[in-house]
């Protein structure tokens, strides 16, 4: 035990005497969460649109002003002919054009229907989708309003409620993902680097030639990173709470316990990587490519797993971050407890044990 404390102390000196790395470790979570929270947003504000009004009557003007006063759109260019539409899109000045057909109000009165064409710039498909949805919704509301006025018939109006994230805030979605990403990064990357560094320096040999138990070496090496990762998880949660008002609706103790479980898993992966590599560079590269990409792409962090092709869905099923992100989202946003999360937790636990066993086995073989 005394040897173990001595070892942890040594690791602590390594970390504390490398201020650059330490700064990155502490500043990164906060920088990441601010970046993701502010940059990636699904909300629309003041999108530039054009309106080509061939009719210029009472109703088209009403619809136009409804759309423009919604706060989502602003009129950028008045377009007077079809030819100008393409020009304006190409210049990138506008994202959407709304075209009213000639004699709009007249047709609406006589035939009960009139056409509005919505043209969107789909070089950014997500944006185009959002814009057209918003526009359609506004027009639909308007048409419902006038039909009920005229005919006194109440139409069916669906009332939509967004549960768990009523304002559809991006931060709600990203905070759990960032926790997974950073815990993976710090735990796996830093552990594998710090073990391979001892190999590069030749100190690993000296440690192994000493009476120090090899497992003391490993546990001594990972303990400081376990603490550091845990502190980071707390930092992310706090930043999420105070800057983006991301709530923790479920049990905070359960949330932290699940974080610890995930850290445990990531540390085992870090040890596994370090047994397979000889240099710090190789360890870093493998950690980034093999761990970070799946954490970002194959975990439901940004892209929903359900929308992926089937083989990728199966691939996602063996990615630990997928389960962790689901757990964190459920606890934070839905207030889930262990009764609802036991299967995900069990899978994560099983994966941790598996990676730990494999890495310890490989580590033992390396001693030969």
């Amino acid at each position: 035990m005394k040897k173990f404390i001595g070892f942890v102390k040594k690791e602590y000196y390594h970390i504390i005497r490398d201020p650059r790395t330490l700064f990155v470790l502490i500043a990164m979570p906060i920088a990441q969460i601010l970046l993701f929270g502010y940059v990636i947003t699904n909300e629309i504000k003041n999108a530039s649109i054009g309106i080509l009004d061939h009719s210029k009557d009472e109703i088209t003007k009403q619809i136009s002003s409804k759309i423009l006063s919604s706060g989502y759109f602003k009129l950028d260019a008045s377009i007077n002919s079809e030819q100008e539409i393409h020009e304006a899109f190409r210049k990138g000045k506008i994202k959407e054009v709304i075209v009213f057909e000639p004699h709009f109000a007249e047709k609406l009165k006589k035939e009960g229907t009139a056409k509005i064409q919505i043209i969107a710039d789909a070089s950014d498909p997500n944006m185009a989708n959002l814009l057209t949805n918003y526009t359609e919704a506004i027009i639909r509301n308007y048409s419902i309003a006038i039909t009920t006025q005229n005919t006194q018939i109440s139409l069916i109006t669906p009332e939509v409620r967004m549960l768990y994230n009523p304002e559809l805030k991006g931060a709600y979605m990203f905070v759990p993902g960032i926790i997974a990403m950073l815990l993976m990064l710090i735990s796996a990357l830093m552990t594998s680097i710090s073990i391979t560094r001892e190999k590069e320096l030749g100190t690993m040999e000296v440690l192994l030639a000493s009476p120090l138990n090899p497992f003391t070496v490993i546990t001594g090496k990972v303990t400081p990173y376990l603490l550091l990762s845990f502190i980071n998880a707390c930092l992310i949660l706090l930043t999420g709470y105070f800057v983006f008002n991301v709530p923790v609706n479920g049990s905070i103790i359960l949330l932290l316990a699940e974080c610890l479980l995930f850290i445990f898993m990531a540390l085992s992966l870090g040890i596994l990587i370090s047994t397979a590599t000889k240099t710090q560079q190789a360890a870093m590269l493998i950690s980034l490519v093999v761990l970070m990409l799946p954490t970002i792409l194959l975990s439901g962090f940004i892209f929903p797993v359900e929308n992926m092709p089937l083989p990728l869905q199966y691939l996602c099923k063996i990615m630990p971050p997928k389960y962790f992100i689901n757990i964190v989202r459920t606890i934070m946003l839905k207030g889930g407890n262990l009764a609802t999360l036991w299967s995900d937790t069990l899978i994560l636990f099983g994966m941790s044990i598996f990676f730990l066993m494999v890495s310890m086995r490989k580590y033992k073989i390396r001693l030969e």
Binding site: K2, K3, G6, F7, K9, K10, Y13, H14, R17, D18, L201, G202, T203, E205, V206, L207, L208, A209, S210, P211, L212, L367, E368
Partner: protein, 246 residues
């Protein structure tokens, strides 16, 4: 009178796949002796040394280090030996004292003893002024001497030095050997690998390895006489050439 043996090796073989790194080595090292392991790079010196330290396990052979069997009593061996690796083996981002304390600690010394011995050692090496400086700020020669002192800090029975003087200037190398003699004088058995042939003459006995085999073993003067050579360098060149012709 039979001298007490510190290490006995009988028919040691180490294979990596089909490559034979150590081919049937047999030798003894006596207590308190400075035993040199000579050979070109890749001759199998480091491999043999690692087996004796318990860092690597032999393919076959009977090996006994400090009275313990290398297969079944590795932990007891590790408590009784010191090891200084080919690469420089102290931590650059720890201070002189912290390095000593860390290594003392992993050998299970009591903090009180560590403090006392560390103070004596720092004084002896003339490092008092830089006691609390990071290791990265002191010259290489001092680091090397410190690394050796740290390897024998826990008073092991045997210390293994793997090319300890690589990249060190001649003056420091001489001082380094003085320290080795001091340690031998205290009864510590020293096993050292080197490819500097002038250093071979500092050893009590040497063993010359060529391509994984022991080509010659004995005191430097015996070897020079047997090979009709002028110095150890000639002895080594003759043996190495003979091996190539075969």
């Amino acid at each position: 009178m039979e001298k007490e043996k510190a290490i006995t090796v009988k028919n040691l073989v180490k294979k990596f796949g089909s490559f034979v790194a150590n081919d049937n080595l047999t030798f003894d090292v006596y207590k308190g002796e400075i035993f040199g392991f000579l050979g070109a790079n890749g001759a199998g010196k480091t491999t043999a040394l690692k087996i004796l330290c318990g860092l690597s396990s032999p393919t076959s052979g009977e090996i006994n280090v400090a009275g313990f069997d290398v297969y079944s009593e590795t932990n007891k061996i590790k408590n009784n030996i010191g090891y200084m690796s080919q690469k420089f083996s102290l931590y650059e981002d720890l201070t002189v004292y912290e390095n000593i304390r860390f290594y003392g600690g992993i050998y299970g010394l009591k903090l009180k003893d560590i403090r006392k011995r560390a103070d004596e050692l720092i004084q002896k090496l003339g490092l008092t002024n830089v006691r609390n400086e990071l290791l990265s700020s002191i010259p290489l020669g001092w680091k090397q001497k410190l690394a050796f002192s740290v390897a024998i800090f826990h008073h092991p029975k045997i210390v293994f030095l793997d090319e300890p003087t690589g990249g060190v200037d001649p003056v420091t190398r001489r001082e380094f050997w003085d320290m080795i003699y001091d340690a031998a004088g205290e009864g510590i058995t020293i096993m050292v690998t080197t490819h500097y042939m002038d250093e071979a003459e500092y050893c009590n006995r040497v063993c010359i390895m060529v391509d994984g085999r022991i080509e010659a073993i004995g005191t430097p003067s015996e070897l020079i006489k047997n090979q009709n050579a002028e110095n150890m360098n000639d002895v080594f060149l003759q043996l190495a050439r003979k091996a190539k012709q075969q």
